[in-house]
C-alpha cells in the first residue's frame, strides 16, 4: 500500500532540509518495517528516510524523518496550503550514508556517554554526573566537548568550541553546554508551596533510545526520576507523580546546530503501565563556554525566542540559541555560580513555562551580527516554521505555524 504524504513549507520562500512527521499513523496503515521505509518525491525518487523510535514505552513519540535534497516552494495559499505531495513506500535502494554517527560508551543499559557527529559538528554528551572520576559530580545531561570543523579552509588552532581560545591543550574541565540545571513545576493553587524544583545534574540520565541514519544522529534520554506530590481535591488524597525530564537530542545532516526537545513526563503513583502525562515546566539552561573575555549576550527588547553571544577576538567563537518556549534574559556569571575566575564563561537562561519545548543550540565562528542573524533564522526555520509533513488521509488541516498556535 502506498501512502500519500502532504509536505508543508509554511514560510514565504523555497526551502530544503529535514522534514519530520509522526511515525505511528503511518505504521498503522502499512506493514513495512521502519528499516525498509522510504519517502518518494513527486518524480518517484526515493529520499533519504529514517525512523526514530524515540521512547520504547511510548510509540506515539516515534518519528519519521526524511531529507529534501531539492527546494520545495511554499504553498500558494499563504503559509497554510500543501507545498508538495510525496509518497511513502518500501525502500528500493539503500540510503546514502552521510557521516552521521551516534556512538555510545558504557555497557548496554548503563551507558554513561554519547558521541554524536555529522562530519561538521561533533559533540560528547554526558549521562553520568561525574565523567572525570573525581569529586566533580555535576555534569549529567551536559555536552562537555563540541568540535566544529572550519567553515572554510581557515586555519584553526583548536576545533573545540567550548574553549576556543585554549590551544595549549589545558582545557577547562568545567566547560560544558546544553545542560538543564533546574526544572521547576508549578503546584496547584491550594498547595502550601507554589512549586517543586529539581536539579538533574547530579544523578545519571538514562538512555531510552538512539538512532543513526541518513538524516540525523539522535538520542532520547531521561533524567533520574523526581517526585511531584500534590493533593487531589476531588478524592481528597495525596498523590505522587514520578517525573522525569525527557530530552530528544538530534544532530541533523549538514547542521552546525543541535536540536534539544524537552518535556517532563510523569506517571501516577508509580503505576507501571499508566500512560505518562506531560506536565508544564520551566527549565533552566547552564553553559560554561569561553566566548571571549569581552563576550556579551545580545539583548533585544521583547525578543524572547532567540539570542546570540560572541566576543570580538579571533577566532570569534559564537553561540546562538532559539526556542519556541520563550527564554529569559541571559545571565552572565550567575550569582550562584561559585567560581569567580570563570564567571565570564558562565551563562544561564530559563525557558518560560511550556509542556514541550524545542530548543536549537547553534555553534559558529562569526561576529555578533552574524550569530544573531543565524539564531533568528534557526528560530524561524527549525522552531517556528519547520518543514513538516502529515499523512493525507483526510482533508489537510491548516498548516502548523507553531506548536503554541496549534
Amino acid at each position: 500500500m502506498t501512502l500519500k504524504l502532504h509536505v508543508y513549507n509554511a514560510s514565504g520562500y523555497s526551502r530544503r532540509g529535514y522534514v519530520t512527521t509522526p511515525w505511528q499513523p503511518i505504521q498503522e496503515q502499512t506493514d513495512i518495517e521502519p528499516e525498509r521505509i522510504a519517502v518518494f518525491d513527486a518524480d518517484d525518487k526515493p529520499l533519504d528516510t529514517q525512523v526514530h523510535r524515540v521512547d520504547p514505552a511510548d510509540p506515539s513519540r516515534d518519528v519519521l524523518i526524511f531529507w529534501l535534497d531539492k527546494n520545495i516552494n511554499p504553498a500558494r495559499e499563504q503559509y497554510s496550503g500543501v507545498s508538495a505531495i510525496m509518497t511513502v513506500g518500501e525502500r528500493v535502494r539503500e540510503m546514502s550514508r552521510p557521516e552521521l554517527k551516534c556512538e555510545l560508551e558504557g555497557p548496554v543499559g548503563d551507558e554513561y556517554r554519547l558521541k554524536l557527529s555529522n562530519g561538521r559538528l561533533a559533540f560528547q554528551f554526558e549521562l553520568a554526573p561525574a565523567p572525570w572520576g573525581d569529586e566533580r559530580n555535576f555534569y549529567a545531561g551536559s555536552a562537555t566537548s563540541v568540535l566544529l570543523e572550519p567553515e572554510w579552509s581557515e586555519h584553526l588552532w583548536t576545533k573545540e568550541m567550548l574553549d576556543a581560545f585554549d590551544w595549549f591543550e589545558e582545557h577547562d574541565l568545567e566547560k560544558r553546554c546544553m545542560q538543564i540545571d533546574r526544572v521547576r513545576l508549578s503546584l496547584p493553587a491550594w498547595a502550601s508551596k507554589h512549586e517543586v524544583e529539581f536539579s538533574p545534574i547530579r544523578q545519571p540520565y538514562k538512555l531510552l533510545s538512539h538512532s543513526e541514519g541518513p538524516v540525523r544522529a539522535s538520542v532520547s534520554v531521561a533524567s533520574s526520576p523526581f517526585d511531584y506530590k500534590y493533593r487531589d481535591p476531588l478524592r481528597g488524597v495525596d498523590r505522587t507523580l514520578s517525573c522525569r525530564l525527557h530530552r530528544v537530542i538530534s544532530l541533523y545532516r549538514e547542521a552546525n546546530f543541535v536540536v534539544d526537545e524537552l518535556s517532563v513526563r510523569g506517571t501516577h503513583d508509580g503505576q507501571r503501565k499508566a500512560k505518562p502525562v506531560n506536565l508544564f515546566f520551566n527549565a533552566s539552561y547552564f553553559m560554561l563556554m569561553n566566548l571571549g573575555l569581552d563576550a556579551n549576550p545580545s539583548t533585544y527588547f521583547r525578543i524572547w525566542d532567540w539570542f546570540g553571544i560572541c566576543g570580538a577576538f579571533a577566532p570569534n567563537p559564537a553561540f546562538g540559541f532559539a526556542t519556541d518556549a520563550h527564554c529569559s534574559t541571559v545571565v552572565q556569571g550567575s550569582p550562584d555560580y561559585p567560581y569567580e575566575e570563570r564567571m565570564y564563561k558562565a551563562f544561564s537562561w530559563e525557558l518560560e513555562r511550556a509542556n514541550v519545548a524545542s530548543c536549537v543550540h547553534i555553534f559558529s565562528r562569526c561576529d555578533a551580527m552574524t550569530i544573531e542573524s543565524r539564531a533568528g533564522k534557526a528560530w524561524y526555520e527549525y522552531v517556528y516554521r519547520p518543514l513538516w509533513a502529515e499523512l493525507a488521509v483526510k482533508s489537510p488541516s491548516p498548516a502548523s505555524v507553531s506548536r503554541r498556535k496549534q
Binding site: W157, D166, W167, E170, N290, L293, D294, A312, F313, A314
Partner: protein, 197 residues
Amino acid sequence: MTDSNENLRNSETTDTPPLVGKDEVTPEVIAEALGSDEVSAGAAKTIADAAELVVVNLDIEEFIADRWSQISNKLRECDEYAVTAKTFGSNMMFLNMAIPLVNGIIHVGSRSERLSATTTLIEELRKTIGLSYDPQRIPVISALTLIYLIVKGWYGITKELKATQTVEAPKKLDDMKEVWERMLSRAQRLCSDRTSR
C-alpha cells in the same frame, strides 16, 4: 619609559601600585629591536612602550614565560606557513595565523578585568599621542602582544648566540636566529612609519 606612559600607568587606579614589567623584554629592548629603516626611533619607542603596557596590564608575562616553549613553537609554525604561502602575501598569512594564537594567550593567561583595564589604557594612549580616530582596541591589543612575543623570541635567541660566541654556534641556533629575524622583520613592517615620514 616616556613621561606620558608613566602617567598612564599611574592613572589606572590610584590605590594600587603601578604595574611594572618583570622580564628582560623591556620597552628599551623592544624599541631597539623594532628600530630600523621601516620604523623610526620615535615610532619604535611609542610602540615599545605600548606593547610593554599591554603585556604588563594583561598580566601575562609570567604565563608567557611558563609556556614559552609551546608559544615559540607555534610562532615558528606561523612563520613556516607564511614562507610557504609567500605568493599569497607572506606577512598577511603570518598575521592571519598568529593573531588567533595571541588571542589564545590573552584569553587563557589574562582575566576580564585586566582586559578591560587594558582597553581603557589603549584609549588613554590614543588621546596621549593625539590620534583623532579611535582604533579598534581589540586588534591593537592583539598586535602589540604579538610584537612583544616576537621581540622576546628574537632577543632570547640573540642572547643565546652571544653566549655561544666563544665556541662554534650550533647550526640549529643559526637557523632559529634566521627564523626569529624574519619574524622581527614582519613586526617591523607591521609597525612601519616609513611612508609617512
